[in-house]
């Protein structure tokens, strides 16, 4: 059976992101007491806004238009383990904590320049951010915008060409 035959280990990094630095949580004491798996509208918006910084609108729509926050919160709620859910929730809380410490307000109330500084800082090493970024990338690329606007969409290719010079996506 060919089931694994075309999973190319080295080449399956579709949408892979090569983050060089693995960070750890900057604040473990910030843990919310209870997390029921439901997210607030603020949290959804926050993910959308962070997403837009990572994948901004260019000649194609960005992460906000792709509503990555809505999708990511559904995935975290329905697909993540309890441990992963908790870690994800800590990340969001931690982002607000960093914003408050650095800029005196929650992320959503920060200015564009401040948000950029925050993401730059987390890029330097923040374990929870890495998970969030991976989710944003995967949510964007799997969205209708990602699949049809960012990439060329071929739902029914109709043929196989094993040696084309045209990039197929």
């Amino acid at each position: 059976m060919e089931r694994r035959a075309f999973i190319i280990k080295g080449g399956k990094s579709i949408g892979a992101i090569g983050l060089g630095v693995l960070g750890i949580y900057s604040c473990q004491s910030h843990e919310p007491a209870v997390f029921n798996g439901e997210f607030s509208l603020e949290e959804v918006n926050m993910i959308n806004e962070i997403g837009e910084i990572i994948i901004p609108i260019t000649d194609t729509p960005g992460a906000k238009a792709a509503r990555v926050g809505e999708f990511i919160t559904v995935v975290v709620r329905d697909c993540f383990s309890e441990k992963e859910k908790k870690e994800f929730n800590i990340t969001l809380a931690d982002i607000n904590k960093i914003c408050n410490e650095s800029f005196g307000d929650d992320f959503l109330k920060c200015k564009e320049s401040e948000r950029l500084k925050l993401v730059s800082k987390m890029e330097e090493g923040h374990g929870g951010y890495k998970t969030l970024k991976n989710l944003i990338v995967s949510a964007y690329l799997s969205s209708e915008i990602g699949m049809t606007k960012y990439f060329d969409y071929h739902p029914v290719p109709g043929k196989y060409d094993g040696c084309t010079t045209v990039r197929p996506w």
């Binding site: 075309f6 190319i8 080295g10 080449g11 901004p56 697909c79 196989y160 094993g162």
Partner: protein, 564 residues
């Protein structure tokens, strides 16, 4: 008309998967009024498929949820279980089994069975496979040889619609193929480069797959390369073989088929006066009522473990250990195939080239061990093959913002290629399934216990499967070659076989050379249960298909001669 007359048919087929579909088609086309029983719901070709639904419209875009993992802890680990395909896999909680040793049992309980979600690779067994047991003494000798089954491969393949290349290899017989699906530029180049480099004849050929490169009939179009079949999503173009696309519609067209979904067969009745099976007892899963159906011949195609379970659960004075089990072999000699050992590397070249379309197959390396004296391996018996392919992914990016967004779509610097081994699993009496003495499932059927493992011969192949793969890739010019082993447990290849094996001797086997029970001549078993060996080359389904067509031909002739 009494109840028995009303429920009387010429033939009963239990199961609608790959082999049950063929039994239904062949019996109906030969004019027999045939009752086809399926334990799951109906799935109608094209009408019931959702492969054209865009991925982003799925709530989790394909991801497996916690609820899925809870309901189906085993199925959710199967390679092509996902948000869309999960409806073709069972709920493990409703269908429990006991693993005495780890055994991943993939199950699809619906009309079409696992033919909706199968891997589609289709290779003939060769003379080596049918002679192996006799030569090395593991298992019992097959009662047939390649020449016995060859005409029946010829018979089924054109209807199956297999894309493949003609290679003229005695250890990998050619079939009646449609044109092959081509290799991509890296695969072709590597295949070219390894030619003649190995004294044992290692070579790379096109994979042989039951995907159609030519239209094959109503509702059976040619492959559109959209990649849905590999993900277990069925195909609205009908471009791969399934019971739903091919055999069941053919059976229905005769007007002779009565298809009854939601019908679990729990027992086969036996009449000691006539020494024949008389019928089956069914539990209707919608009403939980029991029904009895009767027929002159019965084909058991419920899948390797369930076929054996039905027999073990059919006890009588004559057969206290299960119907047709005078040999004591039913449930024993369970095999799968070890797989998942291989190598990968990168190819520096064709940097301006890509592939377009999702080809549902790859490349194949025929067996090259233990074919003859010169290729004998000192450490183990029998052999293995490789499946694999080359592809080019995306590189991804670093950082964030405009540049990162742009980088995400950049192609990887190099093509990658990997090949993965599938190997033979020797038949061992102690690898077996049996019925639990007390525990029953919600339908009242005793729960199946599985006790199966890979042993010395399988383990002895592992290093060679990894290293030989690396040798092939290196000879083909790949760089950074690394080996891997997915450490798959038995069952996860989904090639379970052997629980009612064929053989010449009724004392040591369950079926004769016509897939007919030694003890009960009007029962035929043509699913994986019948196998006397797992074979070295995977893609076993086409062998079940050929054996089924052959067995039906024989059964109907015997019926007409009034021998059964």
């Amino acid at each position: 008309m009494n109840g028995k007359d009303k429920n009387l048919y010429d033939a009963i087929v239990v199961g609608t998967g790959i082999s049950g579909g063929w039994a239904a088609k062949e019996l109906c086309e030969k004019g027999l009024k045939t009752l086809v029983l399926e334990r799951g719901r109906n799935v109608e070709h094209i009408k019931d498929y959702d492969d054209m639904l865009p991925n982003w419209e799925l709530p989790h875009r394909g991801r497996i949820t916690n609820e899925d993992r809870t309901k189906s802890p085993v199925q959710s680990g199967v390679y092509n279980y996902n948000e869309r395909s999960k409806k073709y896999f069972v709920n493990d909680l409703d269908n429990p089994y006991i693993q005495l040793k780890p055994f991943e049992w993939a199950r699809g309980y619906q009309v079409g069975g696992r033919s909706l979600i199968w891997g589609r690779q289709s290779y003939r067994r060769s003379y080596l496979d049918f002679e192996a047991n006799a030569k090395d003494g593991f298992g019992v000798d097959w009662p047939i040889r390649y020449k016995d089954i060859a005409p029946w491969y010829d018979y089924v393949e054109p209807f199956v619609g297999i894309a493949g290349s003609i290679e003229r290899l005695p250890h990998l017989p050619d079939g009646k193929f449609q044109p092959p699906m081509p290799m991509n530029c890296v695969e072709s180049e590597v295949a070219q480069r390894i030619k003649g480099k190995f004294s044992d004849g290692r070579m790379i050929i096109n994979g042989r797959t039951a995907n159609h490169t030519r239209n094959i009939g109503e509702g059976r179009g040619q492959c559109q390369y959209k990649g849905s079949c590999g993900a277990g999503h069925a195909c609205s173009f009908g471009a791969y073989f399934s019971s739903n696309s091919a055999t069941l519609p053919a059976a229905a067209r005769t007007g002779n088929m009565t298809l009854r979904p939601y019908s679990i067969v729990q027992e086969v009745y036996y009449d000691k006066e006539t020494r024949r099976a008389t019928g089956v007892r069914v539990v209707d899963t919608e009403t939980m009522k029991q029904y009895e159906f009767y027929a002159k011949i019965i084909f058991l195609n419920a899948s390797t473990l369930n076929t054996a379970a039905i027999l073990l659960n059919s006890k009588s004075d004559v057969f206290p250990n299960g119907l047709g089990n005078s040999s004591g072999q039913i449930g024993h000699n369970l095999m799968d195939m070890p797989y998942g050992m291989g190598a990968q590397g990168v190819f520096e070249g064709f940097k301006d080239k890509f592939t377009f379309g999702n080809r549902p197959t790859g490349i194949f390396v025929p067996r090259f061990r233990n074919i003859n004296k010169a290729t004998e391996h000192k450490d183990y018996l029998r052999g293995f093959t490789y499946q694999g392919g080359a592809g080019r992914g995306r590189k991804g990016g670093t950082g964030f913002g405009r540049d990162f967004k742009n980088d995400m779509s950049q192609p990887a610097d190099h093509w990658s290629m990997s090949i993965t081994a599938w190997a033979e699993h020797l038949p061992y009496y102690e690898n077996r399934m049996f019925l639990h003495e007390d525990k029953k499932d919600k339908y009242g059927m005793p729960v199946i216990c599985v006790d199966c493992e890979f042993k010395e011969n399988e383990k002895a192949m592992v290093d060679d499967m990894m290293n030989s793969a690396a040798e092939i890739l290196e000879a083909g010019g790949l760089k950074n070659v690394e080996t891997y082993n997915w450490n798959k447990i038995p069952g996860s290849c989904i090639h379970e076989t052997g629980t009612a094996r064929m053989g010449n001797n009724p004392k040591t086997s369950v079926l004769n050379g016509w897939n007919q029970m030694h003890d009960v001549p009007n029962i035929f078993i043509t699913d994986g249960a019948a196998m006397a060996s797992s074979g070295t080359t995977p893609g076993p389904s086409v062998t079940y298909m050929a054996l089924t067509a052959r067995a039906v031909d024989y059964a109907v002739k015997e019926l007409n001669r009034r021998n059964i």
